[in-house]
Symmetry: none
Subunit: 233 residues, 2 copies
């Protein structure tokens, strides 16, 4: 009869409570045994549903305490790759290698083909980036950083690279940035290095030096990789 399995129905029921506000953020869910009874399902099926919602980041469970509702706005949208990258930290190095090659190639072709419109756009982003560096606005810095990379992708005039940047690469960049942004940088050295690296890429693209642009971008990715390694082995 049931189009969907009992566990799926249970998951729907839980999601409904999360959506209609009857279980606000931070609240503790009824105990599994009681909740299973009220939903009319076994504790097994209920746990399957809960486990899935936990994996999606909507719930967290604390041993001996209960299951709680988390802030679901962050993890609402996730691609299959995001989930995999989050679950398998060792995959991060694979994706970083991929990023390194792709961003390097993109910078190469950007330096080869950037026209006046492209250069003007990138220059504007560089100004935003510099201003964000100086004022220390981390949020604007992150946004300008992302815009910079996508502007480079546009300037490459290659649909393939452009789509990669709009899809996977953007996701990977977000994932890395979240880990790297929260770090302390008391001396401001890292911020300074990042600024120098972006200017290096921009300079090579502006002067139409493909290989210099590639090397500058590779150095930038390598820098983020090394900084990431320093923090997480």
């Amino acid at each position: 009869m049931a189009q969907h399995s009992v566990a799926q129905q249970a998951q729907r029921a839980l999601e409904a409570h999360l959506l209609d506000g009857s279980w606000p953020v931070g609240v503790r869910l009824p105990a599994e045994r009681a909740l299973a009874e009220t939903l009319g399902v076994s504790r097994n099926s209920l746990r399957e549903a809960i486990f899935c919602l936990k994996a999606r980041g909507l719930l967290v469970s604390k041993w001996g305490s209960g299951v709680f509702v988390t802030d679901r706005l962050q993890t609402a949208i996730s691609s299959p790759w995001r989930q995999l990258v989050a679950d398998h930290p060792d995959l991060r190095w694979d994706t970083l290698e991929f990023r390194r090659e792709m961003e390097g190639a993109t910078a190469h072709y950007a330096a080869l083909r950037a026209d006046k419109t492209d250069l003007k756009k990138i220059e504007g982003i560089i100004k935003r980036l510099t201003r964000a560096y100086e004022t220390g606005e981390k949020n604007e810095e992150y946004k300008a950083d992302a815009d910079f990379h996508e502007a480079i992708a546009e300037a490459s005039h290659n649909s393939m690279f452009l789509y990669l940047h709009a899809g996977i690469l953007r996701m990977l960049r977000e994932h890395i940035s979240l880990n790297l942004m929260g770090m302390e940088d008391p001396s401001g050295k890292i911020t300074d290095d990042l600024r120098r690296q972006h200017l290096g890429v921009w300079d090579a693209v502006r002067k139409h030096q493909p290989e210099a642009a590639r090397q500058a971008m590779l150095a930038h990715i390598d820098f983020t990789r090394i900084e990431l390694e320093r923090r997480q082995g």
Copy 2:
């Protein structure tokens, strides 16, 4: 001890099989009872993991039949381009640039990390390829060619490259090969060049010379591009 729950560990074990290719698309997983025993977890915990992967669309289960691997991971990445390439033939040069960079990078990391198993596999394919060249079996030559590139991708030991090769790159390769294979080659010069290029890549990978491998692969892709240009402007 365990930072993560048993169910989460089970989920990662399943994901690992999906990522490293030991469970290809369409394959049927071992029965839940048997799989739970091999993983050393209870069937309940295993089912929680499976349920989550089903919800993410990576697995589908059929009543009384088994659990199967879907092609979500590959289609999620390759589908946008499949449509684009089909709709816009002039996109071919963009995709060739993309192929050039990706295959070059893959050869680089293959030379860096290929182990004895990888080398043995590649060597076998090289022998098939040589035999196909000599006997002039175009069909076997094409198949061995494709296997060669994918074996290189496996030897790179990078899940990202591996999946790209299994997805979009395979599609692009098919697209190119069909145009290139059907051409006449009376003097046998092109076949001879192709053979020399494959041997060049194989030699660099075997000797663990990353940059030589990259350059050899780039030369190979450039050759196919030039031959394609000669025929279709």
